[in-house]
Each structure stands twice: as C-alpha cells, then as structure tokens.
Symmetry: C2
Subunit: 799 residues, 2 copies
C-alpha cells in the first residue's frame, strides 16, 4: 500500500516517536487492557469479576459462548477512536461488522458510562461488573454479537455483510457525522460487502458525512483463513485502490508500536477526510470524486489472548476465533484463564469497588460524543416527521369506476416528487432503486432532484447529480443496506424494486424485521420510520420479460415475520396507492410492502372512496355488487386480479342475468388473518359480513394462492374460499396470457363462480365448453398477432 508494506517494514528499526506522549500511551494502553479484561470476563465468568479470590470452576459459566478472536482489535479501535473524538470533538459512531464482536462493544460502552445509563442495573461497580459478565450470552441476557441491545449500535453482527452499506446509509445527509466502519475480513467475502465498497461513488463530501472503513485483517474465519488475508498486501492494496480508496496499513503485534502507528494513521486519515470535505464544501474540488482514506488493520487474531493451549498455537490462528480455552475440567485450563485475565492487571485498572479508575476513564468522550450515546445510533431520537403534501392533489379524477386508465406508479411518482420537494430543506428523504426508478415510472421525481452520482459523467447522461436524492445502483443489497442505515439514523425513504428480484434481499429483510421486533421491547430505542417497499414491475406484467422475472413470493416471506412488524398492501388502483403510500410514509417501525403495477390500467375508486377503502383495509364494492345476500362473493386483492374480477363480474351479469354478486376487494392483506394473529385482522363478525358464512368465494389473488389459505384457514367460511393466483406458470407471452396460464383470467373466474352456485349447476357444461372455445381463440390470436385480443386490450367496465 502506498503508505505501507515497505515503508512499514522499516518502522521498527527506526521508530518515530509517534503522536502519543508516553503518558497518553500508557493510559490508552490501560484503557485497552480494561476493555480486553471485561471482554474475557463476559465470555467466561459468572462470578468473581475482579479476581479477588483464586478462580474456581464455580466462577466459570457452564456454557461458554462468544467470540474472542475479533474482540481485542475492536477494543483497540474503540480506544483510539475515543482519542480522536475527544481531540477533535468529533460526531462519530462505529458500525461493527465482524460477527459476535459483542463483548468488546459492551465492555467499551460500559467503561464510558453509556451502558449503565441505558441499563441502570449494570452499575459501574463490582456488582455491576458481575452482572455485566453474567448477562452475556446468558438466557434472558444479551446476545454475543453487537445487537439492538448494544448502546451505540445501528448494526447487528449476526448475519454478515451489511456493515459498510449501513455505514454509508447513516452518513448520507449527515455532513457532520463520521462512521468508523469495521469490516471483518470474513464478512468481506460476502457478496453484499464486496459491492458495498463502491458506495463511495454515491457519497457527496459536500452534503454527506464520511465513512472511514477499517478492514480488520484478522486472518481467519471460523475454520479457514480469509481470502483478503492471503492475497498479499500488494494485491490487497490494488483491490482497495481499485475500489477507489486510499488504503493505510496498520500492522503489528507489538502493542506500543501499534498504538503509535494507529494513532498516527488516524490523525492522517482524519486530516484527509477534513481536507476532502473542505475542498468539496468550498467548491475547490472541481466536482471530482475524492479518493477517501481507509485503514487496513492487521493484528493477530485473539491478540493478547493465550498463545498456546494444549500444546497448540492459539493467538494469531483460527483457534482464537471463538473461545480459546474451554473444558475447565482440566485444572490447567482454569489456571491459564486466570493467568490470562491477570495479565491485564485488573487491580491497576479498577478500584476495589470495581470502579474504572479515573486516570483511564477520563480518556473517554462525554455526553453525546460517546459512541455509545450518540443519538445518530438511536435514530428515533432524531426523527423528524416528513412534511407530506396532500395526496388528494394527485388523485386521478374519475367520472365513474372503470372509466379512465392511469398508471398507478406514475401517479404515485407525482406525489413522491412533491414529497421530495417538500422535504428538500430537511434533507431527510431519499428514494432507492436498482436502476429502475424510471422503469418503475417514478421519473417525475427527477423534476425536483437527480440521481446521486459522484463518478465520471458524460454529455449524454441525464438526471445525474452530486446532490441527487435518488439512489440508483444495480444492487438490491446496496439499496436495502443504504436505506436501512438511513432509517436507523432517523430519516425516511422508499425502496422501489422489481417484485421478482426483491428476493435478493430476503435475508436482509429478515434481519431488519428482527431488529424492529427486538427494539420494540427496548424502551430507550425510539421508533424509527418504517422500511417501505414499493414492489412493481410485478408478476402479472412481466409477460415480456418471461418466467425469470415472475415471482410474487416476497409477500409470503414477509408474512412469516412477526405480525406487529409487517404490513402488506395491494392497492387495486392509483388512488388507493396514493392513500396507502401516504399512510406508509407516516408510519413508524414497520416493514410496509406495497405491491402496485406500473402499466396504465382502469381506475376504480375516487379519492374519497379510496381513502375509506384503505382505512377499512377491505370492503364490499357496492357499486359493483348486488344488494343483500349474494350467490357468490367475487373477492380480489391486487390490481390485475381486481381487473380480471371486474371483467368476470361483467361476463357473469351478461350470461347469468339473475345472478347476485358481491365484490369484495382487499387492500390490506393482513385483515384476512384472525385478530389474534395480526392487529389488522378483522374480527370474526366483520370478516363474515364481507365473505359470508356459507357462500362460495372466488378469490382472485396477486400472489401464490396458498398465502390466502394460510391467512384465512381459521375463518368460518374458509372451506368455501376458492383462490386463484400465481402458480408458477409463465413465459414470454402477453399480459392476458399470463392470467390465462395461471387460471386467473376473467373467463376462468366466471366459470369458477358458476361451478360453485348450486342453482347454476345445469349450465356448467355449456359454460365450460364456451370457456375452452374462448381459450382456443385466445391462443390462436396471440400466436398470430403477438398481442392480446383487441376485446381484451380494450375491455372496459360497464354496468
């Protein structure tokens, strides 16, 4: 690396004194020892926290959990970042990527006082220390990784790969904030992390804060070396420079040298960050993308831990990854653990009451400058509601149901443009999408803002801008990770995505939903803005893109998450989409999934009706229904199923004039569940009032039919609910053929109804024949013309 291997190799021979005075070095080293001591204590001990008496097996936890390997490096960084914060009065938080690095962060926030402020029972005393040790990885205690419970964290170190995207999301529109993001070299192998480095092409140093990536080159994963630790430092340097960074190497295993080198490097990179920001902010950078600094920290895995256990090397190897000493039936192990802990000289660090001695404690920042107390890491504290324009101003005017066509997402785009404009000064709203904002018809937002872009530009480019508030990159992982980081630090956003490909972030959604669930039970975690998905370019209108683009299963995945966290909306037209979207942007601490099409389609509800309908979540469309008890309930959820249902209703009325039909439309899918399962669930009476207790229900559904069954199997009339939806049939074909292939077409729905109405049984054969004749004509027509029958394309609702 430019600042590295050769240069460094000479350092020990000719050590510069470094920026730390001997006294400061001594105190910082003490602070580090204290953090390491507390980390080991958390992993091992349930009692005797200060080692006031010889360690016995009764002091040791029965189940040893936690990961020592990464911890001393994290502790080292925390102590050094503290110095930087204090000396420069920085507004800084840390995002900790390495898995199970919990003990280090818990130790440090306890040492600085943040932990005890959040958890008063974990006092800064001998008793508190005992509780601190005991709770770690203990039933009902705290997880072994950095978690929602950890003060100062916006990132869970459980599943790996999202740290750097979270860090960038956190600093967007936070010009004063620096996020020190520790990337584990194991984590660095994940796909999400491998592309996250490119986030620097979307960060505007004038408007946004800074991310300082610190690649912790710890060397090993659970059972293997890491790739980045075994490609040589030169190749790693090229990789980081190729990603657009200016890498600084901090390497060593002698604490004193590493302290000085790390301190000097941090001073240098901070100065570089400040220079980049100054140049961008006074305009002297010429609009060039800067080369941001990053640090490669190469220290031994499990540094300061036992060197040899049972005759095998541990420190600096994969054996230090988790618990370096186990099996305390061996008294030698107990002795070794004690020796290890005493090597940190706890009596020097903590007084006899267990209080961290002032000479060290005074090194920490104070108040909100402590990384464990920085409000950016508890975004709900900073959350300012969006200023929302009235969506009614964007309503599609309807002379009546099914009389005009509109593209729902394009209408929404107009409102989102205004949302963007209204909150431009607050700078707390962004749109995210994988190269699809315009494809998803939201391009009106470009009237008021561009797409963030810091890489090179060419004359032909459109709507790119350093100041753009639309985040476009061909990575669902980055869109999701950035948005999560943005929300977790107290801002708002919307992620629009092709429905099929949002599965790419299934696992990220999982982790975010779990974060939301857990933080609902942590009183000091304030609610954040909801994670809002707009899934469009959906299964029914990907006829041209073929089977690979057709998958409505994300809502199934979401429906498995905790009911108090997830909401799923299927607005049937533009006005209902407006109403739902406005609701979602006002909501807090949910995952909201909205599924809506982008193609021009018939509109059903005027804006007042739309609001009423969305508020109810589901309702009878009286204007399409007969009064009183029906022969059949034609239910629908989703825009295309609604269209086919309305067409089916028209067919039925034409051919069975005396039929009594009720049309029920469902916007809020969770109303289908029993109230015991979801707060939006309709009570039994309300559900039965819509779906009857004994009449056939033909339910045309946007997704896989089984989801409706899963939600309704406890309902009175469930046995009569017959669901049509996507059954994994599709290809490159026409829009109408897509519904035909999946038995969701109007003819099939009408036939389904006739088949289930007892008094129409004698008509079934004739209608079935007619159905197959119709299908024959359809197939012939599209094979000949490559498009749908004109009567289908031009179909219009009439009553």
């Amino acid at each position: 690396m430019r600042h590295a291997p050769a240069e460094l190799a000479e350092r020990p021979a000719d050590p510069a004194p470094g920026p730390l005075s001997p006294e400061l070095l001594r105190r910082m080293h003490g602070y580090w020892r204290a953090a390491n001591y507390l980390s080991v204590g958390q992993i091992y001990l349930r009692a005797n926290p200060l080692l006031e008496r010889p360690l016995t097996i009764a002091d040791v936890k029965p189940r040893l959990l936690g990961h020592w390997g990464t911890t001393p490096g994290l502790n080292l960084l925390y102590v050094h970042l503290n110095r930087l914060i204090v000396e420069h009065d920085l507004n800084m938080i840390a995002v900790i990527g390495p898995g199970h690095g919990g003990p280090g962060l818990v130790a440090n926030t306890w040492l600085e006082g943040s932990y005890t402020e959040r958890y008063p029972a974990i006092e800064r005393s001998r008793n508190g220390m005992e509780r601190l040790f005991r709770q770690f990885s203990w039933p009902g205690g705290i997880p072994s990784h950095v978690a929602p419970e950890t003060p100062g964290s916006i990132h869970e170190g459980g599943e790996l790969g999202y740290s750097l995207a979270h860090a960038y999301g956190a600093v967007f529109d936070n010009p004063d904030l620096i996020v020190a993001c520790v990337v584990g070299d194991g984590e660095a192998e994940t796909g999400a992390l491998a592309t996250s480095w490119h986030s620097n092409k979307f960060l505007n140093p004038a408007r946004d804060g800074a991310v300082l990536p610190i690649l912790h080159l710890n060397g090993f994963k659970i059972a293997n070396p890491t790739i980045l630790a075994r490609i040589g430092l030169d190749e790693l340097d090229e990789l980081m420079r190729g990603y657009g960074y200016d890498p600084y190497l901090v390497e060593g295993d002698d604490p004193e040298e590493v302290h000085q080198l790390l301190a000097a490097t941090l001073d240098t990179v901070l100065a570089e960050i400040r220079a980049i920001q100054a140049a961008a902010r006074d305009g002297s950078d010429g609009g060039e993308r800067p080369r941001w600094p990053m640090i490669v920290l190469k220290t031994p895995k499990g540094w300061t831990g036992p060197k040899i256990v049972d005759g095998k090397p541990v420190e600096g190897t994969w054996r230090a990854h988790q618990v370096p000493i186990a099996d305390f039936d061996d008294p030698e192990h107990l002795r070794q653990l004690e020796e290890w802990m005493l090597s940190y000289r706890p009596a020097e660090l903590f007084d006899e009451c267990g209080k961290f001695r002032d000479e060290y404690a005074s090194l920490a920042p104070t108040g909100h400058r402590r990384m464990g107390s920085n409000p950016h890491a508890n975004g709900g504290e900073l959350l300012v509601p969006l200023s929302l324009p009235d969506f009614r101003d964007h309503a599609v005017a309807l002379p009546g149901p099914g009389q005009v066509k509109a593209a729902a997402t394009a209408v929404l785009g107009g409102w989102l443009r205004d949302v963007m404009a209204y909150n431009m000064d607050a700078a707390n709203f962004r749109l995210f999408g994988p190269d699809e904002t315009a494809s998803n018809r939201l391009q009106s937002v470009y009237d008021v803002t561009g797409k963030a872009w810091m890489a090179e530009t060419e004359a032909v480019d459109e709507n790119l801008s350093r100041d753009g508030r639309v985040m476009e990159v061909l990575s669902e992982h980055l869109c999701q990770g950035w948005l999560e980081g943005y929300l977790l630090t107290g801002r708002h956003g919307l992620f629009s995505c092709y429905e099929a490909f949002v599965h790419i972030v299934d696992s990220m959604l999982n982790q975010h939903a779990k974060w939301l669930k857990v933080t609902r039970t942590i009183p000091w975690r304030k609610p954040i803005a909801s994670l809002n998905y707009l899934l469009t370019s959906h299964v029914w209108r990907q006829d041209h893109n073929g089977l690979s683009h057709q998958d409505p299963g994300f809502i199934d995945h979401v429906a498995n998450k905790k009911a108090d966290v997830v909401r799923i909306y299927l607005p049937p037209d533009a006005n209902t989409l407006l109403s739902v979207a406005s609701h979602c942007l006002r909501s807090r601490h949910y995952v909201n999934v909205i599924v809506a099409g982008k193609n021009p389609e018939w509109q059903w509800l005027g804006i007042d009706e739309a609001v009423r309908h969305c508020t109810a979540g589901a309702g009878i469309w009286e204007w399409a229904s007969d009064a009183g008890e029906p022969d059949v309930v034609m239910a629908c959820a989703g825009d295309v199923p609604t269209l086919e249902t309305m067409a089916a209703v028209m067919l039925l009325r034409e051919f069975v004039p005396d039929i009594r039909i009720r049309v029920v439309n469902v916007v809020d899918l969770m109303v289908l569940q029993p109230q015991s399962e979801h707060p939006h669930g309709l009570d039994e009476r309300a559900f039965d009032a819509l779906f009857t207790t004994d009449k056939p229900v033909i339910f045309a559904f946007h997704g896989y039919p089984s989801l409706v069954h899963k939600l309704t199997y406890r309902r009175t009339n469930h046995a009569n609910i017959h669901v049509r939806g996507y059954k994994e049939e599709g290809t490159t074909t026409t829009p109408f053929d897509m519904v035909v292939l999946n038995d969701l077409d109007r003819y099939r729905l009408a036939l389904d109804a006739i088949e289930r109405i007892p008094r129409l049984r004698d008509r079934v054969t004739a209608e079935t024949d007619r159905y197959w004749a119709m299908m024959e004509r359809h197939k012939l027509y599209i094979a000949e013309h490559g498009d749908d029958l004109p009567e289908i394309r031009d179909w219009q609702w009439k009553r």
Copy 2:
C-alpha cells in the same frame, strides 16, 4: 491497465497489422454483420426477413422487446471465440452474463447450425429465418434473454449477478474446458458478482479448467451509466489486479481495429492460460496461485446501431439499451430501421434462399466444438451417476428407540466421506459450504480430501489443499453459484448451510428452480443431478447465537416453487438422514432440501425402519402408539419437534394412563399436500389413515406453523390439526427455552392434547396450573444456572 491505456492510445497511430489476414478479417467481419443482422431482425421483424421488398409496418412486430445494447458486443465475442476454438481445437463454452442478450446467442447458434439441430423447424433458410425472427419475444416463442431454450447456455440472463460463479462451477474438475464468461458492467454492480471475482483463489490450474472473464464495458444500464465504466481505466485496472487478474483492454469503435486487437488479445490470453496450466500440470509453478488473464472489452453500447434517432444520440448511450427505434407510426423510423438493417448488407451474407453463405459459415467450428453444441452446456448428457457407498454401513445401532444419542450430521459426515472417497477418481462430487463444513459436523470428509485453496497458506492452517474437494468461502452466493455451475455441467454436489442464512440465496434458488422447471419441457435438455441442500445449525439449536440466527423460512420459500421440482425432507434422526441423503444424491433434476440438526440427540429408528419410514414419507410410529383408534394424534416433523413430541407422549402416559395416543412422524413434507398438488402427496385415504378424519392432531413442526396449514387445508381432518412451530420468538437462551418461547415444548404439547380430548376436559384446569408451575421452575432455573434443567437435558424415552 498493464497492457492498456497508454499503450493502446498509441495503437491507432501505429497500427500493427494484427493476427488476422485481410481475408480472414473480411470473413469474420461478415460473420459479425450476419449475427448483428439476425439480432436486429429478431427484435423487430415478423416477416420479410431478407428485406427482399421494402419494409412496411406490417413486417414489424406489434410489441418490440429485446435488448440491442449489449448484443453487438456479444456477437463480436462469439465470432472471435469461434476463431480461437477452430485454430486451437478448444473445448469452450460461453456464459453470457448481460441481461437480455438473447438475440445475439440465438443468432450465432443459428448461424453455426446448433440451433436448427435442436429446433428443426427453425431451418437454415429464408423460412427458418422468418420463424427465427418471429419466435423471439413472441407469445409461445422464446425469451429475450439467454435462457434454458438457448443451445449452449448454462446460464439465464434474467436476474443478474451469477455468471462468473456459474463459469467457475463449470470448469471445476474439467481440466480441458475453458469458459469464456461475459460479465456485463451492470451485472458487475451486484453483490454476487462483486465477490465472484475471488473465485480464482479456489481454482486449481492443474486439476480444473480455465475461466476467461470478459468484462463488457458497455457503459450503461437501463437508465444509468455503470460504475465500472466511470471510474477510469486506471482504477478499473487496479480493481481487476486487486481481484488477482491480469487485465487486458480491448477498446475501440473502429471495427477493423477492434477485430485485430481482440484477436491479438485472445491469442495472448489463450497462450497465458495454456502457460499457467502447463506450469501447474508439470509442477513447475511451485504451487503458486497464478494471475489469470481477463479482458475488458470497451466498445460502444448498441455498436453499429442507429447513431441518432429523433435528434438524440443513441449509439454509445443508454438509449441503445433496449429498442433503439420504436413507434413505427413515424415513417421516418421505418426508413431508419431498414437503413440500419441494410447497413449489414444481408444480400452479401445470405443467398436468395436465406442460407448463410459458405465463405462465412465455414468459419464456425463443427460438431461438439460449436459452443451451441458443446455437451458441457447440456450437463445431463455427460452425467455419470455417483458411486454410492451403502449408507447402512454408517447406521447408528439402536438397542431400541430413544436409547442412544448421536449427532445426525456427524453420522452423515462419515457417509459423505465415503461418497467422496468412492468418487475420487471420477472427480465429480464436491461439498460446498460457507465456512461451516466443520461447524456443521461434516468434518469426517477431511479424512479423504481437503478444502480447495489456492491462496497463501501458513503453518497453522489445517485441511487446506490445492486438490481439496470441499469448497469453503464465506459467501452463500458463491457456494450456490459454484454448485449450480457444477451441476449444470453434469456433476454432483451438496451445499450445507446454516438454516437461517440460506435465505441469502433465496433468489438464486428461484432462478435455478425455474431453470429446472423449464428444462423439463425441453426434450434435448437431459436431466441433471439435483441441487441438494443440507440445512443444519437450524432454528431450534441456535439458542446460543440468538434471534438473528433463527429462521426456518427457507422451506416456505421452496414450497412455493413448482411441485415437480422441489422436495423437502425433515429426517428426525441420523438413520433417516442417511436414507434421505442417499436418496437425494441419486435423484435427478430436483431441488432437495434436507433439514437436520448437528447436536447429539436421541435416536429413534434402526436403519431398516428408517429406510421404510423414509420410503413411505410419513408413518405411524407403532412402537410409540396405542393400537386402534386414538384419542389424539401426536404428529411431528423435524428432529427437535420429534424429540418434544416423544417427551410429551411420555408425560401424557404418565399423567393420563388411559390415554390412547398415535404418533405420526413426517419425513417427506410434501406427503401432506394433496396428490393433485404434489406427486409425493398422500391420497386421501392414506392421509386419513394416518391423521384420522375426526381426532385432534397436535402437530409439532420444525418451521412456521402456517406451512403445515397451507399444505393440509384441503384434508378431511384439517379443522382438527393444531400446529405448533416457530413463531418468530427467540433470543440468546437455552435449547429448551427456545421451544418454550415458541410453545413447542413437551409440556405445552401434552397440554394441547389434553385440552382437545373431550373426556379429559375436566382435567384441563389442573394440568394448566401444572404447566405454568413448570414454566416458572424452568425460567428460574435457567436464569440461575444458564443451562437447561438436568431433567430436560438428561431426559430419555422410556416405554
């Protein structure tokens, strides 16, 4: 780049003649023009393929689909790779990453004859050409991307990001094979692709074939520039070198120059590949990881297409991404399209019958050397069944049910070791896992093989080897992508993964399942080995890792896929796991998901019973059941639910001695579905024979309860099926507390039974009180001791 910008910049000024003779250059250029002509024809025309008469609007398709932008580059590469194949008699296939590059590959395979051999109706004539044009993106025709229908393809260009992983998977253990992998610069932004470059650390040049990555620096995505095209060539060079490659730049917009440069570069990189392989194979490389060559192809997007349309620049811009000219109501557009197509001078290329003229056609390779006919791209043709050791030799010997403990995956590991050993010479089986093979207790395989590793090694490393057949990398994407590539080229494998984190590849599973579905309907695609997942470290035994590691939803995701493609197995113990695994490794063209624990647990079935049970898919455990009609059916699926069910049965027998219990265990989850929905589904009579038609069923389930309801809602007795499973509750706690938190514990199951047996109603209050007292004791104990009650830990089945 080392071979690039500066050096290249001088090229035009002093053009070396290049390796192509003027005559060869002329013919290759003609071949390229032909491919481009056919590509444009596919996108636009439904008739008049040779432009024998002036183009009219009736000749143009009503819906214009397909992506022109990437196509001329793909065509150029195909023509040049053909030259290389012919000159060096190469065994080569192409993996085409860019989305919707279908027309180019279809054109080229038609030109070389492969297409017509697979689809005789698409003759190599005027009529065939018309059908070729018409079928493209036409209902019932072929998709616009490279797809299963495309001869020579193992990769679908629909969802983006997996090309390079597929390419590496294809060449593992295929020393003679070279995969030219075209990576789109849009695709390169995805997470999966960004980490796929690191695959070169796992490729052994002595044993494996070679991947030649070709980054197609086309410049634009749908609506944005690409990152890699806008970081400058120097930074891109660093990035590629940092990934361990030796990048060669081929840049230009003058066809003649680019032809010569590309040809020269291909000669060079082939020589490099051969030199690397030779050195590795004769041992002269010293075991060093080589720096493989790769190519950056920088040509204008939509090259040779219209330069200006409606006054706006198109060629070389994002406007060339899809259909550069649309809206043929404008006669100028029609004229422009005709001019564009005629610019390729079709009459020179095709004779009056539409036959590709010999002077060009003769450039293509012949027989299996044609990339469209290479058997590696139709892996089923090459598939050799595994030689499978008898799993009975690995059976756990049981004195009786619940009398011995064993770790199921560890037992499986012993068998897998033998599978590995038996097929060592055939070199057609590998294990894949994200750094978890040992953590998942499969480490016995290291007795016979190591972990593939070509990066640096250190003395402390264990089991790393250039020749290892275990693929470990901390990326689920790479594990999945490599395995898919390995399977698609006719080999076998198993992917073991933490259950929660396999969601990372939900979307990859989708795409592979879709591939399997579609290829079942393509007669020339021969069945390939199944994609086998072993999900372990599962939800119930991630108590120590906490909520972030707990998610059993992958099987829900899989269950949404087409029934003839997916299989889900929940073996309750080691012997059933052996039986299931052996079955899966013999199966073809499925996705098999096996969920099994890694912790030592009680064993239930001797090996003969296990085989019988797995063959049936579900059955009554007679030895735990009372004869005749039961009061209650205690059903279970999954190892931990089975354990809790057995314990509940013991509790019930103790406290309700006259109770009549039937225990039903389900191994093959799909037996629950009606036969109409899944081929494994039990018929109604068989289902009712197990679950009765009217008795309460307490179903303890591994995953989310709703999955059981979704599968069984049409069954006679569904109203009485009461399912307990994971309800998204969990934290860092004890194993037993995990089941308590989710109401799946033995006490809850027993109480569930009592509550549902009418004649026991009067006991419910007392038993409920006892339940809560028990729970109180449990909570107190784990809070005090940090581990489960000894009576829980030591519980053993007795009857």
